[in-house]
């Protein structure tokens, strides 16, 4: 943990002279040689921007005035009563565009402008990151192309229309299962050919270095705010901090503030799909072997030949066979516990929290809430990151039956 403590202590964000390229055995840059200079350029640009007062002022102003930060910390009274604990929800669902994705998209779009890139590409699965990136590009007047699998386009038609309304071009991806994994691959292929004019806004703390560290830096505002808010409210740290993990950006953004607080139990909740024994799940951290996907060594779902296998989850935002390399390290170190809840449990939590609190969570954080509901009692204080709102998921959840 010394490298992390040195580079990213909660009280001195961004004092490091370099970004982590590796997280223990994980991370790295497993990409074609052609891209390495672009990754070097991105790393240098972020190190400068992270230290630059003008950049930070501009980003803070946008996060405050445009996106709606700081987000509220809400003491969920009826949910607390239901689980016999004090439950605080970090309300990322109240942000502009409806999820934490905007934190990263605004930061990276500002960075792209600073780097002189006049074209931005992104991938999207459920559409939340695509919408956030299209929004940031509209705001900053940058050309935006969003890669999206045609199966996801079919399932998420309203978000496709929303991105087009915002001025983004949707690039349909027909390969493989035509979902998020293929969209990421196709975005990387675009970037291999266009890196001199184009910035790739990756949507989670995955991909080749420096992306996992860059996205973590841009999302850590979640946990930094929440920690201060909980301390302010109850005068002590929470016992448990719970967040859902797909690629893992809202989770790493939440956990980073608490990594050095050894008394805080950190729990990352993956999508168990039909169950971990079924083979149909999205839980590489809870089950996965070491592997390379999309430029990083991490926990990856794969078969005996090293072919990446399709993930499965009712939640499109968690439906990804990989995970961020820092999560893989935190798992191996035992600092974070990674668990999984099934589709059925997540949809049940989605409904219960709607009735208990008048809040419709996205199906992604519904996994974190499901774990909370399944682990009640003990009278402690819990922080749960409510990473997005569930409007997008109504059809899927109702259809689930």
């Amino acid at each position: 943990m010394s490298a992390r403590a040195e580079s990213m202590t909660p009280d001195s964000p961004g004092r490091a002279s370099e970004l982590e390229a590796r997280f223990g055995d994980y991370g790295g840059r497993y990409v074609p040689e052609t891209l390495i200079p672009a990754l070097d350029e991105l790393e240098r640009a972020w190190l400068r921007a992270r230290e630059d007062a003008e950049f930070q002022r501009e980003l803070s102003a946008l996060l405050h005035d445009y996106a709606g930060r700081p987000t509220p910390l809400y003491r969920a009274a009826r949910l607390s009563e239901a689980v016999g604990r004090t439950v605080f929800l970090k309300r990322e669902d109240l942000l502009h565009t409806g999820a934490h994705k905007i934190n990263n998209a605004l930061g990276q779009a500002l960075l792209a402008r600073r780097m002189g890139k006049d074209r931005i590409i992104a991938e999207t699965g459920a559409g939340q990151h695509g919408v956030a990136t299209a929004t940031a590009c509209a705001l900053l007047d940058i050309e935006c192309i969003v890669y999206m699998g045609t199966e996801d386009m079919r399932r998420q038609q309203p978000n496709v229309e929303r991105m087009r309304l915002l001025g983004a071009e949707i690039a349909p991806v027909e390969a493989g299962a035509r979902t998020l994994k293929e969209a990421v691959s196709e975005a990387i292929r675009d970037w291999v050919a266009t890196a001199d004019s184009t910035h790739y806004v990756i949507g989670s703390c995955v991909g080749p270095a420096p992306y996992p560290a860059l996205v973590r830096d841009l999302q850590r505002v979640i946990g930094d705010e929440a920690k201060d808010q909980v301390l302010d409210r109850v005068g002590r740290l929470p016992e448990r901090v719970i967040a859902c993990v797909g690629g893992g950006s809202n989770a790493i953004g939440t956990f980073t503030a608490f990594l050095d607080d050894s008394g805080v139990d950190l729990i990352g909740v993956e999508a168990g799909g039909d169950g971990l024994d079924s083979g149909r799940h999205s839980a590489p951290l809870a089950t996965g072997a070491r592997g390379v996907l999309h430029g990083a060594m991490s926990a990856v779902l794969q078969d005996d030949d090293g072919q990446i296998v399709e993930a499965h989850s009712v939640s499109a935002g968690l439906d990804y066979p990989g995970s961020g390399p820092e999560h893989a390290q935190l798992r191996d170190e035992g600092r974070v516990r990674y668990v999984a809840v099934s589709d059925v449990e997540a949809v049940d939590a989605f409904r219960r929290v709607a009735r208990l609190e008048g809040i419709v969570p996205a199906l992604e954080p519904a996994h974190a809430l499901a774990w909370l509901l399944a682990n009640p009692g003990g009278d402690g204080v819990d922080l749960v990151t409510l990473s997005g709102r569930g409007d997008k998921d109504l059809a899927e959840a109702l259809e689930f039956g």
Binding site: V31, P32, G176, R189, Q307
Partner: protein, 278 residues
């Protein structure tokens, strides 16, 4: 799917494929004695359209004047490949082609010419470096190309390959800095695979104007031969690349022929490419 068949079986563990291909030395010999303006290296996707057909296409390449063969091991997420090679790999995986199946094809073809395997990092690393490299050596592979394993990540695998006498062939790109090219060149084995253009594999109408500069810089950095690939599809393009480089790699165009016209189509295409280099 029948893994053995005429595609060829692997010899048992412990037995080296002491084949014509002959590892790193076989590659050096192929570059030294081709008698053309440059060595010709077609690319085929192992197991496309099926294992036997890919073996037959490889035989056709050898018959038609290819000096080395690049043999793709299909991978689910090939980041460096354009649509034609992606589709071929997807087709092979969907049909049940396995790594062992393709290594069987490699073993059969390595009797004819040096075979350089091309696959992605996860396929190589998921079972540990030694395991894949050992299997490749038993299959008679002369070299290994891993396009998503840049120089910074390649030391362990290079050591494993050196131990088996297999050349870990590095890639150089038009975007590589002089500093990176120096490191790539210093550690190169077999040859340097110079990517002609920033982008993925696939046929292109024009050779990039900066190709001569790129090749010159790579040549300055490396003692081993320099081969150029990506975007080369026609005899005329091959002839012009041969004026610059020691080797010409033709991929998507050959894979397209293997899919559309079968081994005979591959034979005709490779004959025409070899003719352009005569």
């Amino acid at each position: 799917m029948a893994e053995g068949g005429v595609a060829g079986n692997l010899p048992p563990a412990g037995e080296r494929g002491a084949r014509t291909g002959g590892g790193t030395d076989g590659i050096a010999a192929a570059f030294a004695s081709h008698g053309k303006s440059a060595a010709l290296m077609p690319y085929l996707m192992g197991g496309f359209p099926d294992l036997d057909a890919s073996r037959a296409a490889g035989e056709a390449c050898a018959d038609a004047g290819a000096d080395l063969l690049e043999l793709g091991v299909p991978f689910s997420d090939p980041l460096a490949d354009g649509p034609v090679i992606q589709a071929a790999g997807t087709h092979a995986i969907a049909a049940g082609v396995t790594v062992d199946g393709v290594l069987g094809v490699c073993h059969a073809l390595s009797a004819r010419l040096p075979v350089v395997l091309m696959t992605y990092a996860n396929a190589v690393l998921s079972h540990g470096d030694e395991s894949f490299v050992g299997r490749a050596a038993r299959a008679g592979a002369a070299g290994l190309i891993v396009p998503d394993l840049p120089h910074d990540e390649s030391a362990e695998l290079r050591e494993a390959c050196d131990g088996e006498g297999i050349a870990l062939v590095p890639l150089a790109a038009p975007t590589s800095t002089a500093e990176r090219l120096a490191a790539i060149g210093a550690d190169a084995r077999g040859f340097v695979y110079t990517v002609s253009v920033a982008g993925t594999t696939g046929e292109r109408d024009e050779l990039p104007p900066e190709l001569a500069d790129t090749v010159t810089q790579v040549r300055r950095a490396a003692d081993v031969p320099v081969a150029v690939g990506f975007g080369i599809a026609t005899g005329e393009q091959a002839r012009r690349v041969a004026e610059l480089a020691d080797g010409v790699i033709v991929g998507s165009r050959v894979v397209r022929a293997a899919g559309d016209d079968g081994p005979d189509g591959v034979r005709r295409l490779v004959e025409s490419l070899a003719e352009a280099l005569s």
